[in-house]
Assembly symmetry: C2
Homo-oligomer: 349 residues x 2
């Protein structure tokens, strides 16, 4: 199969590829099947419509395009889009104005929440599609600071700040009452052990905390330990922001029946993580086209996603739309935004 595809591509001369590009570009622009005449005219290939027809029947044979019905033009298949993305699409960089807008808009962000909110809006506006941004994964962050605040009685609040700027906060109640000094002591102890440690190691470290507390504080520390573990482990990556769902409505005809299930999926963090997460190892940017998404409801959907983070990848962001989307433009937008957000995180570190 793999060898077969290779031969297909190799056997195709440049003009056939050019025809495929023309079909993809026109179809994306007009949303209508594109015929041989259109291709021959609009894209100065220097050949007649008949020649284009021959190429098209070849491309159809090879599985890159297909006809919705006998007397219609051609539409790219998922395989066709794939080839286009891999070898034909020349990524068009954002315009200077767009770049400036991105920088200005993101530079105004005051904290991580704000960065994420602005990012997701920006992506959806740039691409006119649904945008999804995952908050920096706790698994890949380190603790910058832990704070323990008394709320009166036995009620406490634990605030954890990571090096990516993420703030997790959690209220709980202890079975014993602690003095302000006790709290300070516990806070100091926890901070000494956890500060600058990556969260993946936290589970281990937290386990050892109880042993280090003064005997009087052991009960409290044990309870605190449970809350810590809960905060760190039990809700690992779950935060995700979505924007631009209204753009789905623009493609109503396209999504037809699946609109509802897609919207349902957008409210499920697990599903979103799946869509974003399965990045090709190492690749900076991933495009998953139609069938390549395992989920049934997304068979007519493409996802363009990129990792971001200061130095290493701490989260993913992406854009979701119909398979017939403007790949070069979307790829450029996602890449540019991911890069710039990474820069911001780098600076704030």
């Amino acid at each position: 199969m793999k060898a077969n595809e290779r031969r297909d591509v190799a056997a195709m001369d440049d003009r056939k590829l050019e025809v495929l590009r023309a079909i993809v570009e026109d179809y994306v622009a007009t949303q209508e099947p594109v015929g041989s005449k259109t291709v021959a005219q609009r894209h100065a290939l220097g050949v007649s419509a008949a020649t284009v027809r021959n190429d098209m029947s070849y491309l159809e044979e090879a599985g890159y395009i297909h006809q919705p019905h006998t007397s219609a033009g051609r539409i790219p298949t998922d395989k066709g889009y794939r080839l286009f993305v891999d070898r034909l699409g020349k990524i068009k960089p954002l315009s200077a104005a767009e770049r400036r807008a991105v920088h200005r808009f993101l530079a105004e962000a005051i904290d991580l929440d704000d960065v994420v909110t602005r990012t997701v809006r920006l992506l959806s506006q740039l691409t006119h599609q649904v945008a999804v941004v995952q908050y920096p994964s706790l698994n890949r962050s380190s603790v910058r600071h832990l704070e323990l605040v008394s709320l009166g009685h036995r009620r406490l609040m634990l605030v954890m700040i990571t090096d990516t700027g993420r703030v997790e906060q959690r209220q709980f109640e202890l079975s014993v009452e602690l003095s302000e000094d006790d709290i300070l002591e516990l806070r100091k102890l926890i901070n000494e052990q956890l500060t600058d440690k990556p969260l993946v190691d936290a589970t281990r470290i937290i386990g050892g905390l109880v042993a280090q507390a003064r005997p009087e504080l052991e009960t409290a520390m044990a309870e605190l330990t449970r809350v810590l573990l809960d905060t760190v482990v039990a809700r690992p990556d779950e935060r995700i922001a979505v924007a631009g769902a209204a753009n789905l409505a623009r493609h109503q005809a396209y999504f037809a029946g699946s609109l509802r299930s897609i919207m349902e999926a957008l409210e499920e963090e697990v599903v979103l993580m799946q869509l974003l997460g399965r990045t090709d190892s190492g690749a900076l940017l991933t495009v998953r086209i139609g069938d390549e998404n395992e989920l049934d409801d997304f068979r007519e959907t493409s996802v363009v996603s990129a990792g971001y983070g200061p130095g290493s990848v701490v989260g993913h962001m992406g854009v979701l739309g119909p398979t017939r989307m403007d790949y070069p433009g979307t790829i450029a937008a996602v890449r540019a935004v991911a890069r710039y957000v990474s820069e911001i995180l780098e600076q704030n570190r």
Copy 2:
């Protein structure tokens, strides 16, 4: 006009009202215009279809129902729904199983964020509609505690906790470096002044803070003051949670063209606030039907909303759907959930 309507209602005998109820109920159930025969048969009125026809033509004259076209059945108008809601709909309380589910699901919430998230999901599931929940308004809350945390260098974090459990957090940078003791001093000062004060008074109090700080800390306090004001005033009510947007897709036919603009509106906090906020003064529960919403995009939409809070109202929650919705069921659900959430907030106070 008002007098006119009064007379209309008064002039209608019970059977005419019964016919209107039958039309509303059937139309909501079937989504299809309902004819005289159906009404006469399904709802044991003890009269013939012809009689029902007379009543219907009266109801149409009075503006409670109308025909989409000459040879079709009748559909309630907004005015018809209004009368139904005000005088005809017998609110059917939730089933015991539903009530248990509500209690169980909400009781598990661990903090305010969790309460809101669970509430909005619950509402959308109970009603099969879009649910919207406003976080407790800062304007109507009091400060329970303020915390000032050093993040190293000159970077600080301000955490504010209100009596409704809402936690606002904000990072910022001072122009001067403070010692741990300085920070504690400032924190103490701020807490003394603000704890248990309603946030509406905060602006005034904050203004006086700088004067009370030691001269060495004046600069820092001035800067801090600005951050405080920003946190308290500049982002007053803005947090809103939405769930069940996928339910809009179920009513695709109904919303037709406006689907997109409705979805856009759902991403705009300002619009959502408008929809929820304009509560009739004092009323525990508000139903706004079709035209009664000022926004054009919501002419075919009804909103059922209720205030909630411990004792006094601190926020609103509601459900949004097509005008042809199950009002009795929706009203019951919104009311039950709002009450129970209020109870929870009361307990946590």
